[in-house]
Amino acid sequence: MDLTIVVLIQVLYAVASLVIISSGLAVIFGMMKVINLAHGEFMMLGAYAVIVSIRFGINLWVAMFIIAPVAVGLVGVVLERLVIRRLYGRMVDTMLATWGLSLLLIGVVTSIAGNTTAGVSAPLGSFTIGAYSVSSYTLVIIGVAVALGLAIRLVLLRTQLGLIARGTMQKPDMANALGISPSVVYSVTFAVGASLSGLAGGLLAPLTGVVPTMGGAFVAKAFITVIGGGPAILAGLVSASTLFGAINQVATFLTTPVLGEVALLGAAIVMLRLLPQGITGRFFKGTL
Amino acid sequence: MTPLIETRNLNVRFGGVHATRDVNFTLAEAELRCVIGPNGAGKSTFFKLLTGQVKPTSGQILFRGKDISNMQPHEPGRLGIGIKTQVPSLFNGLSVWENVWLSARRINSTTQANRITGETLERVGMEAHRKTLAGLLSHGMRQWVEIGVVIAADPPLILLDEPAAGMSDAEVDRTAELILEINRQHALVVVEHDMNFIRMIAKKVTVLHQGAVIKEDTPDRIMSDPMIQQIYLGKKPH
């Protein structure tokens, strides 16, 4: 019984992790159809923002929930204005340019911070279930993922920003006709996506070693989740994260963590072959 | 006589749009038919059904008696259905010669393909431009090259989507001549708006409106029909 609960928590945790690391990408790809291959590096910047803030004595939670998202959001705005906006509609060129940005960011951070691994320990300790010990931070991650999902839904459905974003996504011309500049909407959307990536990076800082090249491990997973999810941002994010997260965790339990990763990647390829439009291209159509 | 093309209760729905409604359309071998209708009538959708780019929601499409309703995208071309699309679709980076040659070469040897390409370019009057890149041609010339590409494969059925669009009067006359000449050995379905052009080439016209066939008759009777005059928002005949 205890084992079941622990397994369940781990599966939820895997799903939650995917939700968190993919949310920023889901917003950017879902809204703007921009493939941001620098996504991992946005996360890396968020993680470094937390590390640096800690060094300055700032509270961990403040660093994670405020400083990291804001800092990376600003970086996002700058990059969008300088590079991304010149490539709208050119999907492959965007992929290439953002790949270049990813290398650039790694290079810049390596030059400043060096190659050594920095880290911060997971807060809140652990609790026990029967004979098993579970990190309390795991529950934080699960909680944040749920909150994030609800927040995105709220913003998209209930706020003016969300409405404008959804409208512009469907018809950029209409936005113009309503007196709203699509380029402003895109800037804000990109910034929001970048902030979410920064948040994800900050949240992950206690869990992985923070090193300039850490982004690479997350980029593929995030992409697979977003593209596997399909056109509906939230429903796609949740459904794909659930599917892949569960497969990943179950495979890890049955074999090794490496094979768990492989299983996730393999499942993605199979799934895309069966559902080329992603999950919400076929199911849950028309939802958010 | 098995008809060349026969559709039975053909329906296509895209989301809420009923783009093709219960269309029963028959075409005999070497017949020439014009299809007209206002914008949104479903003409291009109809062509896409025939070329397999769109799958029917219900109903059947038969080509010489064989059901072709669910084909892979390259199969209609193999069977013998050629299409010149509304916006001329060519290989812009290849020369005029190569565009036509690729079409001829699929079913012929190199020597035969070379001969056929030369003859086809003569027929459509583009011999002089054989080395020009297709991307550099004017709109009218692109239409002719595309017609050449289509006929080089010698398909029994040729679909032409607005072959006279954007052409000068002289070019339109030439296109009409070309179509009649092609019609001696191939069936053609031509979508057009220019009623003068239609009168030059067609004996029978099918009128589409909101996805359904509402009338099939000779050009003169179609044009004197007040209902059609009212709904058809295209060019009025002079």
Binding site: V92, L103, L104, S111, V258, A268, L272, R273 | L90
Partner: protein, 373 residues
């Protein structure tokens, strides 16, 4: 310039230069520099493999390094087990080709778009990296060859002359072999794209819908290009394993795949010489950067990639071609103007309005095909 690039004259010229380099360089270079030349040539073959499938086939593979790596690992494992290197050499080409054909089948017959292709090829490279990286324990071996995990496989026996196990290739021999492979690949690909299959491959890239409507199964042609590209990359991998007598999982890294793409972008899509030029230039640049401390190589490469995508999307060689063509045209019209006693005759009434769907067609081979998601 494009006419020139496509003509047999340019092929003959390139071959002549290549042969001259192949026989001339060993005379002027010491063994160490010759080995540098060899690695440049190996990477050039790899670059050409991507230049072919991308520039002519329209397939942007984000994981070409996967086939490169498979080639090197296949050779290493096979030669350790078999001794004589003839079969391992062939396997090093066949295994990546087989892998490419399976992957290609999944992607092309599943009708996935460019975007998905990029993600899936990226993913596959990652899978391979993760898998091989974790094989460090002694229990991980194929036959007699331990896979070595993140340590890689050291001491890979060099290719020997076919049938003579004891007569291994010297570094000089390896240089000749590599250059020959490069030239044969170049010649082979040039012949291929002039053939019917080659024209269809290009047509699939130019306008897939049109080639389908003509009755050609585009999926088969893409599969063919992709498999051939994998085979060529595998060949490069095998030569690489011989060059350093070593291979490791970093060969599957994203960084390696990124480098290949950067070479092709910088050198230019649509030619075979372009990727070679890009490869040599970037390799040289990377070596130079490595010797100094100020600028990190990732930084420079990333900046180059961004700048090129934004400003020089066609790459060096075709852009040079455009510049040369522009100069040539200027000189021509200037000469005509000077010779004319009367005003220029009016051009015939044919309108040369470029249709909206065509990008600048001065370089006939268009670069990338954009598809809506």
């Amino acid at each position: 310039m494009n006419r020139f690039a496509q003509s047999w004259v340019s092929a003959a010229l390139v071959l002549a230069i290549g042969i001259a380099l192949m026989f001339g360089l060993p005379g002027v270079m010491d063994e160490y520099t010759l080995m540098q030349g060899t690695i440049y040539a190996i990477m050039a073959i790899l670059g050409v493999s991507l230049g072919f499938i991308w520039g002519f086939g329209g397939i942007l593979c984000f994981g070409q390094a996967a086939f490169f790596g498979l080639g090197s690992y296949t050779y290493a494992v096979a030669v350790v087990n078999m001794g004589d290197s003839t079969v391992p050499f062939m396997l090093a080409i066949a295994v990546p080709a087989l892998f490419a054909s399976i992957l290609g089948y999944l992607i092309f017959f599943g009708r996935l778009s460019d975007v998905y292709m990029g993600v899936i090829t990226l993913t596959v490279t990652l899978i391979l990296f993760n898998l091989i990286n974790s094989t460090a324990g002694p229990e991980w071996k194929i036959g007699n060859a331990p896979l070595g995990g993140f340590n890689g496989i050291p001491g890979i026996p060099t290719l020997n002359f076919p049938g003579q196990v004891d007569k291994a290739l010297s570094p000089g021999d390896l240089f000749y072999l590599t250059m020959s492979c490069l030239l044969v690949t170049y010649l082979g690909l040039r012949c291929l794209i002039s053939s019917k299959i080659g024209r269809v491959i290009i047509a699939v890239k130019e306008n897939e819908q049109r080639i389908l409507l003509l009755g050609y199964d585009a999926r088969l042609y893409k599969l063919f290009s992709f498999t051939l590209g994998g085979a060529i990359a595998g060949l490069a991998g095998c030569l690489f394993a011989n060059w350093g007598a070593f291979t490791s999982p970093t060969i599957f890294s994203l960084a390696q795949s990124a480098q290949i793409i950067i070479w092709v972008i910088v050198g230019g899509l649509g030619t075979f010489v372009g990727p070679v030029v890009g490869c040599v230039a970037i390799q040289w640049l990377t070596t130079q950067i490595g010797t100094q401390q100020t600028f990190n190589s990732n930084l420079v490469l990333g900046a180059i990639l961004v700048v090129f995508v934004l400003l020089v999307p066609r790459g060096v060689v075709p852009s040079l071609g455009l510049v040369l063509e522009w100069i040539w045209n200027k000189l021509k019209t200037k000469a005509m103007a000077e010779n004319a006693a009367c005003p220029q005759p009016l051009l015939p009434e044919v309108k040369f309005t470029a249709p909206s769907q065509t990008p600048s067609t001065a370089n006939a081979i268009s670069i990338t095909k954009e598809q809506a998601a």
